[in-house]
Symmetry: C2
Amino acid sequence: MGRSQLEKQKTHERIVTLAAKRLREEGLEGIGVADLMKEAGLTVGGFYKHFASRDELVAEAVESAIGSWRRQQEDKGIDPRSISLDEYVDTYLSERHRDHCGEGCAYAALTADMARSSDTVRAVATEGLRRNFDAMTARMPKPETAEARRKAIIASCLMTGALGLARVSNDEALSDEILETVRSFVKELPQAE
Amino acid sequence: MGRSQLEKQKTHERIVTLAAKRLREEGLEGIGVADLMKEAGLTVGGFYKHFASRDELVAEAVESAIGSWRRQQEDKGIDPRSISLDEYVDTYLSERHRDHCGEGCAYAALTADMARSSDTVRAVATEGLRRNFDAMTARMPKPETAEARRKAIIASCLMTGALGLARVSNDEALSDEILETVRSFVKELPQAE
DNA sequence: ATTATCTATAGATCTATAGATAATGC
DNA sequence: ATTATCTATAGATCTATAGATAATGC
């Protein structure tokens, strides 16, 4: 016990990354500090040398969760902007994403929790939401137009909503129907009207 | 202390109705048994003569929350089926609904919590989801067609998703933009294609 | 006599802190 | 000497239960 500053920084990141996953799985009030540290291979005591409070961890974890998909793509050497609407929709509204909440979209997993959260968390979430709308607008034809932004907002609400309801249904046929219906609709959205 | 059976039944309903509101506000793990009973003008002790466990209350409260809108309409003497898509969209995607989570749609308020819940809760939620899809299908032109059902699913996902994201944003302009954009889109949905 | 609710509390769980331990880094 | 993590625990909170109290209803 007693580690270098570099190791502390890595430990900090490990806790945040794990929290970003576990909180998406269990909700922002889900996992406790002790259990989380145990899963990270640590003990409770060290926690408060990293975070002033559990809330502070939650804020960092939400920020990390919001940026996780973008970071994953960049780590694979992929520019997220190069991913087309069709590709994005297929992975977002996939059975895999539905069944792996912890690695997925923070907005689908934590909508209500975020809305109830502290100002800090909501500010982070709102900023991320804006960036998501912008990224979606860029995937529409004529991205400078108001029509592109309109469709980007529609697509975003549809996708988070569909993933959420697909996760609610314990009838897999109904769940799949939701995913498939919305997948094909969003793909046709750029050509609509 | 010591009440009639009729009063007990009314007390039971009062607890469930209050829980349906407070759980939509704070999430399914939000309010505790003691606080809830206090708000109902009662004390902790009586709780377990009404429910075997907190989970049992949650299940009843979720069922109550899912049916609350329908019941409200019926109490006003309105047949929910007589409400048009346009009317429904305007109240669903209103600032009022956004700002009053406790009286509103259970799916928008509790999506992620429901998905994580016990089999009992998920079964109730899935059944309600099916009924919602059916009710929305009936509001579309040619309700017997597959196209009507497709649009009903789209509209449902869009509306729950939009309300959820509108609640996340702490920037009211962005929040209003989401609501307005989706409102007008859903109203045009029946005529689309 | 039965029972709906009350007061009081046991037991579990969870956040946060205090003090010890064993590395780092000047 | 400093500090990152550990062990141990205080204090708050929450679910559930036990036993008392005061009505109901045969």
